[in-house]
């Protein structure tokens, strides 16, 4: 019997990830949040992140025949998303940085209200902005592995599959990313 819920559908197909492509709408529902989150953190612009998310699923749909299930669907989608970010930053490098700088002030203060006091919110805003700004000073690979590790909670093997790097290379980029961000943030005065 075909499950009616998304979770049931995914759970049923856990053994064969290729089957997840049979119902593409459900796959979009299942992974959209994670793909959008990574893309938003990478490009710093919600509208652009939405467009790239659509591109990501469109590319996944078009090349679903080449998916052999040797990695998880999430990892595979992340690989497509990373390529999209790379293509975007390379083709429109200058526009990207200019726009990224411009939207920071708009996007960063648009966090949802979670019932914290205005004072605490200001502190949180500042700290989040500091970390986000710091990620932008990293190289493309360092930023990607940092976001996959600390935002998406992927383990080293999954990051290696997503980025097509070796696990050793991922560890090196991650180490440099953390060191770079700490250097940027500085020690507490």
């Amino acid at each position: 019997m075909k499950p009616s819920t998304t979770s049931g559908f995914i759970a049923l197909n856990m053994g064969n990830p290729a089957l997840e492509f049979e119902d593409f709408d459900r796959l979009v529902q299942q992974y959209r949040t994670r793909v959008l989150r990574f893309l938003f953190a990478s490009v710093g612009d919600m509208d652009l992140a939405e467009t790239l998310t659509q591109d990501c699923f469109l590319n996944a749909y078009k090349s679903r025949g080449s998916f052999r299930g040797d990695c998880s669907v999430h990892t595979w989608l992340m690989r497509i998303a990373i390529n999209l970010v790379r293509n975007h930053t390379r083709s429109r490098r200058f526009q990207f940085w200019r726009k990224a700088r411009r939207v920071d002030s708009n996007e960063i203060h648009d966090w949802p209200d979670r019932g914290i006091s205005p004072e605490d919110r200001t502190v949180v805003d500042e700290q989040v902005q500091e970390v986000w700004e710091a990620t932008k000073t990293l190289s493309e690979k360092q930023r990607t592995v940092f976001l996959l590790r600390f935002l998406e909670d992927l383990d080293i093997a999954e990051i290696a599959q997503s980025t097509r790097l070796t696990e050793n290379a991922v560890n090196v980029h991650l180490f440099r990313a953390v060191r770079g961000i700490r250097k940027r943030l500085g020690k507490q005065k």
């Binding site: 979009v28 949802p112 560890n171």
Partner: protein, 153 residues
């Protein structure tokens, strides 16, 4: 020499690659443990803020499935437009090349005067080589040229 962890040791610690001695130091040194906690808290805030932001966005903007299909359909339309253009580009030259001989034929049979027709027939029969081969004749050396250059007849 500093008694606290270096930046490299901090990075290793955050990534879970600390040695026992480093872990022991963090447990015993309030300054290093506070610094580590502060940094981990900032990372945690960053993660939570981004997750909340995207969760709210996704909740307020459900996935536009029709948009994805439209774009897929749009790509198909563009692809079909290119295929059609390619076919038209192939067919038109073929059609034009078929038209040309017809034009020649039409010109050839526009003569209505029997004398003129007979003149054309005579001209055709008096040719030493068929008309299409006439340009080739210019490549064959004439008798004069052969004798002047010392060629053998």
């Amino acid at each position: 020499m500093s008694d606290h962890l270096s930046e490299d040791q901090f990075a290793k610690c955050i990534l879970g690659g600390s040695t026992r001695a480093e872990l022991q130091h963090i447990r015993e040194c309030p300054e290093c443990s506070i610094e580590l906690e502060r940094f981990e808290k900032m990372l945690s805030l960053f993660r939570t803020a981004l997750r909340d932001r995207i969760d709210d966005r996704v909740a307020s903007h459900p996935p536009d499935e029709t948009s994805l299909r439209r774009r897929e359909a749009g790509i198909s339309t563009v692809r079909w437009a290119w295929v059609t253009a390619a076919i038209v580009a192939l067919i038109i030259p073929m059609f034009m090349s078929e038209k040309k001989p017809q034009k020649v034929n039409e010109q050839g049979f526009t003569e209505t005067n029997p004398v003129a027709i007979m003149d054309r027939v005579n001209l055709h029969l008096s040719r030493t080589v068929p008309a299409p081969m006439e340009p080739m004749m210019s490549l064959i050396p004439s008798d004069e040229l052969i004798s002047n250059s010392g060629g053998v007849r």
